[in-house]
Subunit: 646 residues, 2 copies
């Protein structure tokens, strides 16, 4: 199996999974194919929706004499008429619905292997939400037992091992950890259907997070039985890669139409609130008066159009770095989804999510309500502001929020202040918290859109952050000339805002005191002639940093890398590659997962980093795609893009 990350946002990711029957892009959806009763053929799905992967039930095939024989003789792919990737389920869900199934756990894995399934599934023990902890633990143990035995039988089939543990976070995490230890190559999060059915999204989120915490991050994760697109964005943001949908057909049978905001009975509609080919082909009365079988088929198609559109929307959001915006938008369509989202405000969840959060995004951060301020990116910049930014004086001048960038909006005032007193710290009291004027072009301070009035919760959080930031300082609210008169004249030394900016951004990005090293010499700052923005920074004639116009963050040049490498002790900012990779990296090639030996635990996705050999010799500088835990787990794909080498 080959599984690699291509892009990411929140704890979600776009990956490529190679199977025996091709490449599958995640996040993705597997429509459930009932081998007894094909509603839409897989072939047609591929044509209409670009379906890359489907799922069917090996238990049903095994139990039906005709299907069984045909599957063994011709293979699963011929049986279903699909040449793409096929996953099989094992009968676990049937055992949940009917109490038990008449099949041996090992036999069913062998059967899946023998009919040529690309991704088989163990026969796990379905843990229901109403189980007590003891029952749930028993199920987890038995599931692990079966997984161990099944792993020996799988051959070259990918085998999905299922995390169970009911609604107990510690059981879930433990189940996940044990399955990771036996080196399962694909994970399913099981037992969530009853949570979905009862809109217990808060419990669902708890289950996903605790499972993810225990799972090897380099393997695909399938949220088993989650087929309503309403849940897709949140589940992806928490690290799920696959969904399966029997909902498209089940809902269609009841004449219920799936939408990104929920479900509507056809009978409750007076117009088709949708632009999909089905809803564009018919008007509502035409659809309502179709022959019943035809109508169900058309609704099933509609349901799949909507589900796949949501998958594509999620991939775009990951690419643009707007997955949280999508998650929050979707949450506003359902009170329980909103409740689930609020659970992410807990500090332990922020800490977990922050590890996966990219340091910068293509799209601006959009305020969508009182959840926005709890996003991991905000948690991170607030933390870094307190840890890494050093105010230059005890006196802090505070401007109210103005237009962005603040340093242009308040340029006259800032000049007057600095003419009188070089040491004063100047900040803006913004909707995102205190923004030192030197950091006003840095993501996300400049790349964020807040309305003038936010909400009580956001304001409270921001006020709290502000208070911590100015603790022990003397706050002076800017009141124009009046304030100017009150400022004590201190003109010792000189303070250029440009240099302060380079220093402050360096510290925020590379760590406390990074600026001491990077700016230890004669500094030359080159600005863009067109925009007047800082572009390149030279120290003693050496090009150490470039500032990106898009996010106000630095690209580290190899000479800057040398400085930071000398200054910061191992493992800070390092990605360590083994000897096999050294010559490649020295040629400027990117770093592949399997060559990584170690990594600074503080590096985050899209951070600038130092690539070193096992003796900590600097080889190159680059940009990470993964955090430490991921780098050490993944076997495939580029994990650091090398930018400049020695």
């Amino acid at each position: 199996m080959n599984f690699e990350i291509k892009d990411r946002d929140a704890a979600g990711r776009i990956c490529r999974l190679k199977t025996k029957h091709g490449v599958v892009t995640t996040p993705n959806l597997m429509p459930v194919i009932n081998p007894n009763k094909l509603l839409i053929t897989p072939r047609e799905m591929k044509k209409l929706f670009g379906t890359e992967v489907i799922i069917t039930n090996s238990y049903i095939i095994k139990k039906n004499k005709e299907l069984n024989e045909k599957a063994l003789r011709k293979g699963l792919h011929k049986l279903l008429g699909f040449d793409g990737t096929i996953m099989t389920d094992s009968g676990t869900f049937q055992s949940y619905v009917y109490g038990d199934v008449d099949v041996d756990p090992q036999e069913i894995v062998e059967f899946q292997r023998d009919i040529g399934s690309d991704i088989g599934t163990i026969l796990d023990v379905f843990g229901t939400p109403d189980q007590n902890k003891e029952e749930a633990e028993k199920g987890v143990k038995e599931t692990l037992n079966r997984a161990k035995k099944s792993m020996k039988l799988k051959d070259d089939m990918i085998l999905a091992c299922t995390v169970q543990g009911s609604v107990y976070p510690d059981l879930r995490e433990n189940s996940a950890r044990c399955l990771s230890e036996i080196d399962a190559d694909f994970f399913a999060i099981g037992g969530v259907v009853p949570l979905m059915e009862n809109q217990r999204y808060l419990d669902l989120v708890r289950v996903i997070i605790s499972s993810k915490k225990g799972l090897n991050p380099s393997k695909p994760v399938h949220l088993f039985g989650a087929g309503h697109p309403m849940i897709f964005p949140l589940a992806v943001a928490l690290g799920c890669d696959f969904f399966d949908s029997s909902a498209y057909a089940k809902y269609a049978n009841d004449e219920r139409m799936i939408f990104s905001w929920g479900t509507e009975k056809l009978d409750d509609l007076i117009d088709l609130p949708c632009s999909c080919p089905v809803c564009s082909k018919y008007n509502i009365s035409e659809l309502k008066t179709l022959e019943k079988k035809e109508r169900i088929l058309e609704i099933a198609k509609h349901n799949l159009y909507i589900s796949y559109a949501e998958i594509k929307r999620i991939r775009n959001a990951i690419y643009q770095g707007s997955l949280w915006e999508l998650v929050e938008r979707r949450a506003s369509s359902n009170p329980f989804l909103l409740e689930a989202l609020k659970f992410l405000k807990l500090k332990e969840n922020k800490i977990w999510l922050e590890k996966f959060e990219p340091v910068s995004k293509k799209k601006a951060l959009f305020y969508t309500g009182n959840h926005t301020i709890h996003r991991p990116i905000v948690y991170r910049v607030h933390k870094r502001l307190l840890e890494r930014y050093k105010p230059s004086s005890k006196d802090i001048i505070v401007f109210p929020e103005g237009e962005k960038p603040y340093s242009s909006f308040y340029s006259k005032e800032i000049k007057k202040i600095l003419d009188k007193n070089k040491t004063l710290t100047i900040i803006v009291d913004s909707s995102l918290g205190p923004v030192p004027i030197e950091l006003d072009e840095m993501y996300p301070f400049a790349q964020s859109v807040f309305p003038y009035i936010t909400d009580a919760e956001t304001e409270e959080m921001i006020t709290e952050m502000f208070d911590v930031f100015v603790q022990g300082k003397n706050v002076i609210c800017w009141m124009g000339e009046e304030t100017l008169k009150e400022i004590e004249t201190v003109n010792v030394g000189k303070r250029e805002l440009d240099v302060s900016r380079v220093a402050a951004v360096s510290d925020m990005q590379f760590g406390t005191r990074a600026s001491e090293a990077l700016l230890n010499g004669k500094i030359k700052i080159v600005k863009s002639k067109k925009t007047g923005k800082i572009r390149n920074i030279y120290c003693d004639g050496k090009h150490v940093l470039s500032m990106r116009a898009s996010d106000g963050l630095f690209t580290l040049k190899i000479d800057g890398g040398r400085v930071l490498h000398n200054f910061f002790k191992y493992p800070k900012l390092r990605v360590v590659v083994n000897s096999d990779a050294v010559s490649f990296v020295k040629e400027g090639k990117s770093v592949f997962a399997k060559f990584v030996k170690d990594c600074d635990p503080d590096l985050r996705p899209f951070d600038e980093c130092l690539i070193v050999d096992e003796q900590d010799n600097l080889l190159a500088v680059g940009r990470t795609l993964l955090n430490r835990e991921e780098m050490l787990s993944f076997q495939n794909g580029v994990v650091v893009k090398t930018r400049e080498h020695i």
Copy 2:
């Protein structure tokens, strides 16, 4: 012109407008057709999107010799190849863009009339947001002047008169009032394009509300130049009926794709996040590599698919009573839309919106964030709770929120309490505020979905409401047996919860003390055998009320109507019809707009009402569709559905 309301929600409505070329359903969208350069033909639009109405520019036609002649000779409909309704613009927008236009205000109206436009537009004076009040006022006056003169020239053409007044609410309201006074038959709200372009949605909302306040509510309202579907739900919720879109083509020319959540450049996408026929036909690389002209055409189609889908979504939401949910969902996609929505929290806006708010809806009220608690329906029920509900004792037992319906969830506890003390008031401290146990099945108390935790603002509002409700009372929190021991035994009289329920709902629905009249006799309550819920109420053998299972509100029977008619003085609950209608109503026919002479100002859409003649003789009981102001303005359509007659 014939314009009638068919259904409604918030201050929005579904109407039918009859023009010379057919019937148009509102809300609706008019794609802008450039007569010089047809991108998609109107004929194709009709086929693809079911386009009922288009808009084109008469100024452009007039100024082009060839088009001018052809239009006059063959007529506008032949010129554009469209047999549906066509609206024409007058050149006002050109005057805004180019500073001036070379056309006489009356001449252009005559020209529109002569080429057979269904809906013409006066040449109004475009008021920009940066005008000072004096300039804006001048424009308003000149616009009114031209409107007056133009009205004389219009013949049987519908003539859109444009509300101006820049961003000054009093000017807008006055402009609207003056245009209503000259009996204009169609209104446009003009000068909003610069607000749309700069995402000044808060100002846009202010403009719409102040304009609507001055407008005759029985006429169609067109939000001129608003073509992005992101704004449609909110604008409709505030009473706009028509939009026009040049955006579909303008954005397509820049390769920008319109979505319900905003706009995306094709270049910024890695996948087509949409299910429309265009996005289902191509994958992203196919679309990106189409020949440019073809690509622009396909994006234009996509833009229209999306825009029309939003219109249909809005109509559905009105039908289901979930327009606020849609508005709030959309607001979460854009910080400035969210800001605009917050403006509706002002008490004066709540008071205005409450007049249009239906008393009941098909769908449950969904919590979507801290705006939900500010909806007009919540404002209304809180107001009525304080004014109309009379607690039966100084002691109030308070239960925490439980499952709905609360009276079932707490049935054992309630029985124990009432066994000991018949007089105690029992309420639930719910997410929607205090809910007396007798009202727990009434809309929206039962028909609402809130998560367990809401938000700081909602909790504050609810606490405030709670405090006002219990003011001067003795609050006893239910603590089980302990509380029971503390309750003083009062068993005088008897209190049956069913009777209390009938009384409390009557008072809430019909007004303070309505229950004294309706229950003044021997009461018999018939319940549904299936659900155990109250169905029919008899007083002294007469069937006075029926309770609807769906919303827990009463349907008024004719005998109940008699009682209320005797008890309440004129004009309470009355709709007065003139003598022409008396015989029809007496036969059970519904009341048409033109027969209404007067109406209780406290009646709201979907309220139960008494239909009386001009001497206040009771003719029938029915259910209103309009509020008083609307009843007295509308000329067409059913305004009261007669239910039972004398």
